[in-house]
């Protein structure tokens, strides 16, 4: 039974942290603009996030520290403050994008503009955190999130050319529009390697009382959970490549995204898409709000936990409340959710080394992980991928902004 619980944490982390508005928007854009050529970015992002999630679970199991807690201890208040500021900024933008994603789903069904939905959707997210327990949220979202498998079925029914599919797994240079190509590639990486995802996972591991006996299960959960997210994201890319790319639709607007699954699955596909978008964005919004509250509480030593009553963790509850209110207001202002998503995903890539380098130092410090330190493969994979993502983002973001 406890194994099942761990897998639920992995699937939930994956549904909420991996397949959300970020992954859906970036992979749909990639498929629409470049066919199957950007699959490699999804693969690279998935590999990196498997390593990072596994590390955060291992750190929690061996040292009984969450990442933030250990960061504060090991590097002191300045480094902690630096990471906290970047977390709050990015999480706020991404949370707004997720609230936008849910609102967009409701707009597609009702025809009422997403701006009107931002407040009710934000309230729903907050209410689930205020009243719900960690287990309820975790299992509910994992179960409902299975609807996302519709994308795999859709991709299967569209019969993508296998030669191109496998060719897309290997990185290639763009044949046209290089600025958009690299910008989309780093957006996909940013969507896959979201820091809030492994902060969340490490806090979940502490809330579930993992110890050294859980290292093996942790490795399996990280690999299976994140690969599941990677397969779903790839499926979105494939569907977009098959439906949009041949006819030259750019997938820049929400209404266009809704057509993704109608081509392979008809009217039912429309509802499956809307349900997937709503549930995955809800999962991500819950994770983002909680993750930000965890960052504060663990770094500053407050009471924290999703299972205690709000009044018994007042400052913790205050942080997620403020985050949700601020993000909802950002959406009410009418910023386009998809544009905000692509931009904040690229920004995530840009600051990735700020997150991964201190984390890697911790994972090689025997005071924390004892004999369970990182191997050279995970060290090199994470450092190369995150530096690469950051450097490419540094170049691609200004180019994309110039191109409008």
């Amino acid at each position: 039974m406890s194994k099942l619980l761990k897998i639920a944490l992995g699937i939930f982390t994956s549904i909420g942290g991996f397949l959300e508005i970020g992954a859906i928007a970036t992979t749909a854009q990639a498929g629409a603009a470049f066919g199957l050529r950007l699959i490699w970015a999804v693969v690279l992002g998935t590999i990196c996030v498997i390593f990072l999630v596994e590390m955060s679970g291992r750190l929690a199991a061996v040292s009984h520290h969450t990442i933030k807690d250990a960061l504060r201890e090991r590097f002191g208040p300045r480094v902690f403050a630096l990471t906290l500021v970047s977390d709050v900024l990015i999480n706020l933008l991404v949370l707004a994008a997720e609230i936008g994603g849910m609102s967009l789903a409701l707009q597609l069904v009702t025809g009422i503009s997403f701006r009107w939905w931002a407040i009710p959707v934000g309230f729903l997210t907050w209410l689930l955190l205020w009243k719900g327990t960690f287990g309820l949220i975790e299992k509910g979202v994992s179960l409902l999130g299975m609807v996302a498998v519709a994308f795999v079925i859709g991709a299967w029914k569209l019969h993508p050319p296998l030669d191109d599919l496998f060719a897309g797994v290997l990185p290639s240079m763009p044949s046209d529009r290089p600025a958009l190509y690299w910008f989309t590639a780093v957006s996909i990486l940013g969507a896959a390697i979201s820091p809030y995802l492994f902060y969340f996972y490490s806090a979940g591991a502490i809330e579930d009382h993992w110890d050294e006996g859980d290292i093996g299960a942790n490795r399996a959960v990280a690999t299976v959970g994140m690969s599941f997210g990677g397969v779903l994201a790839t499926a979105v890319l494939v569907v977009a490549a098959m439906v949009f790319y041949p006819v030259g639709i750019e997938a820049e607007r929400g209404e266009q995204l809704a057509l993704l699954l109608t081509s392979p699955l008809g009217r039912l596909g429309f509802y499956l898409f809307v349900a997937t978008l709503f549930i995955c964005c809800l999962g991500a919004a819950l994770e983002l709000a909680l993750s930000t509250a965890y960052c504060f509480a663990q770094g500053l030593g407050w009471n924290w936990g999703e299972n205690v009553r709000p009044r018994d963790a007042a400052r913790f509850s205050l942080i997620y409340t403020v985050m949700i209110v601020a993000a909802s207001l950002l959406m009410v202002s009418g910023i386009d959710p998809l544009q905000l998503t692509l931009f904040s995903m690229a920004l995530t890539s840009l600051i990735l080394p700020v997150v991964t380098i201190p984390f890697l130092i911790l994972m090689n410090d025997a005071d924390y992980v004892g004999e369970h330190g990182n191997g050279w493969i995970s060290n090199i994979a994470v450092i190369v991928i995150s530096l690469l993502a950051s450097v490419v983002a540094l170049v691609a973001i200004p180019l994309q902004l110039l191109a409008g």
Binding site: S63, H64, H65, D69, R72, E73, G76, P77, R78, A81, W130, K131, G299, L300, G301, W302, N303, W304, R309, P310, R311, A314, R315, S317, L318, T321, D367
Partner: protein, 116 residues
Amino acid sequence: MEIGREILDQQLVDRTGQDMGKVDGIVLELRDDAPPRIAALLTGGHLLARRVHPRLEAWARRLTARWGPENREPLRIPWPKVKKIGVDVKVDVAADEAMPWEHWVRDHIIGRIPGA
């Protein structure tokens, strides 16, 4: 023992097992005829802000001048009250004394929202 590595910035846990902030500072007692020794541990937001940057502390003090709990100076935990140092630092005090801000937020904001 390395004070900087094993005590500073560690989690403080009270006698009931409740989290009560981090070790934000350490008070050393200088003695003429012997090496310095730890007199007390300190915990408190302004002290932490000062360690990030003195200007942040000044800013935090201005921001909290009008509202917030009355007692906002760092809590001083005398060294004999420190019981155990391991994954965290266990001290023989009640967390209630140490968390004026937690209480302030509870009483003025969170506690007023229905269902808290």
